[in-house]
Symmetry: C2
Subunit: 609 residues, 2 copies
Amino acid sequence: VEDYEQAAKSLAKALMIREKYARLAYHRFPRTTARIGSWFWLPIPMFEDPYCLDDAPPNLGYLVRMQGGILFVYDNKKMLERQEPHSLPYPDLETYTVDMSHILALITDGPTKTYCHRRLNFLESKFSLHEMLNEMSEFKELKSNPHRDFYNVRKVDTHIHAAACMNQKHLLRFIKHTYQTEPDRAVAEKRGRKITLRQVFDSLHMDPYDLTVDSLDVHAGRQTFHRFDKFNSKYNPVGASELRDLYLKTENYLGGEYFARMVKEVARELEESKYQYSEPRLSIYGRSPEEWPNLARWFIQHKVYSPNMRWIIQVPRIYDIFRSKKLLPSFGKMLENIFLPLFEATINPQDHQELHLFLKYVTGFDSVDDESKHSDHMFSDKSPSPDIWTSEQNPPYSYYLYYMYANIMVLNNLRRERGLSTFLFRPHCGEAGSITHLVSAFLTADNISHGLLLKKSPVLQYLYYLAQIPIAMSPLSNNSLFLEYSKNPLREFLHKGLHVSLSTDDPMQFHYTKEALMEEYAIAAQVWKLSTCDLCEIARNSVLQSGLSHQEKQKFLGQNYYKEGPEGNDIRKTNVAQIRMAFRYETLCNELSFLSDAMKSEEITALTK
Amino acid sequence: VEDYEQAAKSLAKALMIREKYARLAYHRFPRTTARIGSWFWLPIPMFEDPYCLDDAPPNLGYLVRMQGGILFVYDNKKMLERQEPHSLPYPDLETYTVDMSHILALITDGPTKTYCHRRLNFLESKFSLHEMLNEMSEFKELKSNPHRDFYNVRKVDTHIHAAACMNQKHLLRFIKHTYQTEPDRAVAEKRGRKITLRQVFDSLHMDPYDLTVDSLDVHAGRQTFHRFDKFNSKYNPVGASELRDLYLKTENYLGGEYFARMVKEVARELEESKYQYSEPRLSIYGRSPEEWPNLARWFIQHKVYSPNMRWIIQVPRIYDIFRSKKLLPSFGKMLENIFLPLFEATINPQDHQELHLFLKYVTGFDSVDDESKHSDHMFSDKSPSPDIWTSEQNPPYSYYLYYMYANIMVLNNLRRERGLSTFLFRPHCGEAGSITHLVSAFLTADNISHGLLLKKSPVLQYLYYLAQIPIAMSPLSNNSLFLEYSKNPLREFLHKGLHVSLSTDDPMQFHYTKEALMEEYAIAAQVWKLSTCDLCEIARNSVLQSGLSHQEKQKFLGQNYYKEGPEGNDIRKTNVAQIRMAFRYETLCNELSFLSDAMKSEEITALTK
């Protein structure tokens, strides 16, 4: 019993640590958990509406400098000289590493492991019981719910890469179409010589008429299982990087026109479907500060906006490649290239009008790459800071996450001060590699993609449950890359009450039909025999997890969607049974009640100086 | 060794028995197997083109009489009096029961079981080896195959019920549409009073605007598992048989207009997809001889014809229900109602022009119902013949199958004599119940639907392999009714080389997306990690299994599709690697070679007198 009290205390502290990081970055934290901890968590709308802004506000004239990998804002030159930054929270690495080590210790602590394991088992059994007792009542509730069913509840594809957002057949058709309609258009330039589309295909010894999805070869197969490297090369149609550059990139001779056209075709399909939304990832690599204005220009010039899409910026963790090609002097420079343009556009939107506009539709950041790549370096407060990280070695996952979080946090506070939208940090996490990744994300992420490895750590899984951290799962992607479909923990997570949604990741590589997200739902429903209520709960989760605006969420989920429990559910919009909502709410409150005393007494060091 | 020789002999005899039954009914038998047995199997086109006919041929004036459950044809009244039937093969029950008992003995014979079990294991291991060695070469072959990929190879939905051929969302939309556009139309009649669509819904206390897929409740759920009775009631939208009658029947006050319109909408989608075909089942119950002219009129009046559909007639095995309601005096009458109109339309097409026309597009018969229902009666040559089967008890599965086969066989021979198209017998078989069903079908069926229970009998499974009997499998249907998806033997059957295809059974009950057949392929591909070559092999099998015409098959599969082995494969049309075709062919020849001596020496009693 004493052991368990200690476990409860440690878990409570872990939750409070997360709350601190979430508050600082304008990330979200569940009201129920906050209420039981008696924290001052305001029931603010989870997200500001990116459309309510007037035009570019005036220049504040602030100066920005990177120090130790984090951008600091100064009111003016004098303050910069005096090293007195503008009053914003700036993170402190020492506290961060202390917090990290608390959680790291926790996940290997015997009694806490036992405690969490037992609670999770209990959650699973409790749901089975609920299902046996209430399945028919839930369905009855849904049957008497007029006009709303699984087909017309809103679903958000919470994790999808723009460069693979069309399916293989769509890409094939598009390539053929361009060749038929404009074979003589100049589409590239090599050593000053213009190259037409026909010449591109001639040089590949290929007639697009003969092209098939087989020769296109962008679909993941059995060969990609546990081979992320092979998977990455599938982004090259016909194995030719020329075609990837031409069709799937925003920066090329055509100014990314083909890519924009395809993305817009996908967007039109979503708009026609009416009930489907998606959050595609666009890349910023951090090679150069020009990437941002170029991306914004691509977005505006080709009118890529769609009401059914919200954009997320993905940053690949490939500093080592750029460094070894001498494109970057240090990791600090990469961070600067990624974040400085955003600070500048925030301080002086009038001089960065395109970027300012584009950022209205960007709702978050993602961190992407192969998590199974091992790193020799252990991140700690002794690690070299980004400005002196000049080696060719790649920093570890946790290092990337901390510095992305740190800069997003400062940026969000600056933007908040101006009444501008803020960004959610939504990294890929727990797809493979070390489970410590999930510890980093527990502190720094609003929500994550994948989360498979929660399977392997009862403590983390229970914490993710208590903090209701949204997890965008992609079982079909996992099936091709890391974990067989039947072994995917989605069903188990859903049953226990973790906040899971379904997403496609890469329709180009993984899906067969025209409706990738529906394919994802259909397969999950069939293989795991999910009920309509299960499906609608997942769909509701996906809207909550997404970066859609407060107003949109009210429209899609109900006026009070941000409240927890049945009160926050409008069955006429979500088609989730109130019986289910009540079960989830009571269950969460019950779990939290074991921690509530501990939660009130624990003390937490502030992250910021 | 001696044991195995005996096993080989028995298996050879079993194959020869099947060949006899197939030949008599104009069913198909694989050329390879026939060649090794040195039988006179002509390499005829597997199916006559139903379009090559001139208009209704003249009346032959023959007379038809049912005797012992089988229709006999007489040239004229005098011959009838003399009981000298027209020279056609008429089956002999005694021989049939002897043949049945040979196979029945075989499937429980120890040495034969061991032999077949070992051969099947060998086949599976051999394929694994083939896959490991040749997977990349197969894919390379497909990649260099121009213009053809999985998306544009022809696929036939070989098993689908017309009354459930639209998905749930489609049915819902259609119901709402009719209510919006013609609420005041009279759609039914009760005691002489006309009832409008609005009144129908008023009496159900329902506003179609509020209707959802949940309240429609036609989708199979966890409740239907092993409950065929519950599943059958899912055919009633909103649980109301009125709506089933109105929307899903060919005979009602509107002359089946709504049903026809929905089927045509499904047909338009197939035509647009261009590469997808389907073989929907329409019901003939055998309650009255009027069913046939009514069905033909429905087909013609509403112009239900589509180039992408071929029709199959399903006969539900529900004599007991009709008998207990006193709608039928005997089982013989039911058979007469089913078959006599066809004999008459064949003998005198000019007086049955609509039926004659409709039959051009009917390619086969199906026998449907819950196979798991137990019957007390054991079919033998001592069983009461159909004309004296007057009890309320339902005849067993094997009885149904024999008498359907017997009449189809005589009918096919009569039609063949006139140059008219023949019908394939394609019953549901091996979905549940006794494995002896698969013995009946081994003799009487051209091909079957389901075949799940082959899993349980190595001898039958091996015989189905050797005779390459096509099996239309529907794993999603099984998943809702009889067998979890992951336990479905499709993948294993495919690997061993059984002739399997994929089909949807009931999109209304089982599927989620707009493209039910693609959903079926996609889920199989994902869960079982099927390769493109696997998928295209299944698609090719589906065309072969189907009732599409010789000309169509040549167009879809290649000029020589009816030849076996790589010679019969045109990769440019099928996208099946020649390496795969060669493997299958060599493997089959190898298996047959063990039987070849035995096959030449065995003697078989003629079925017909």
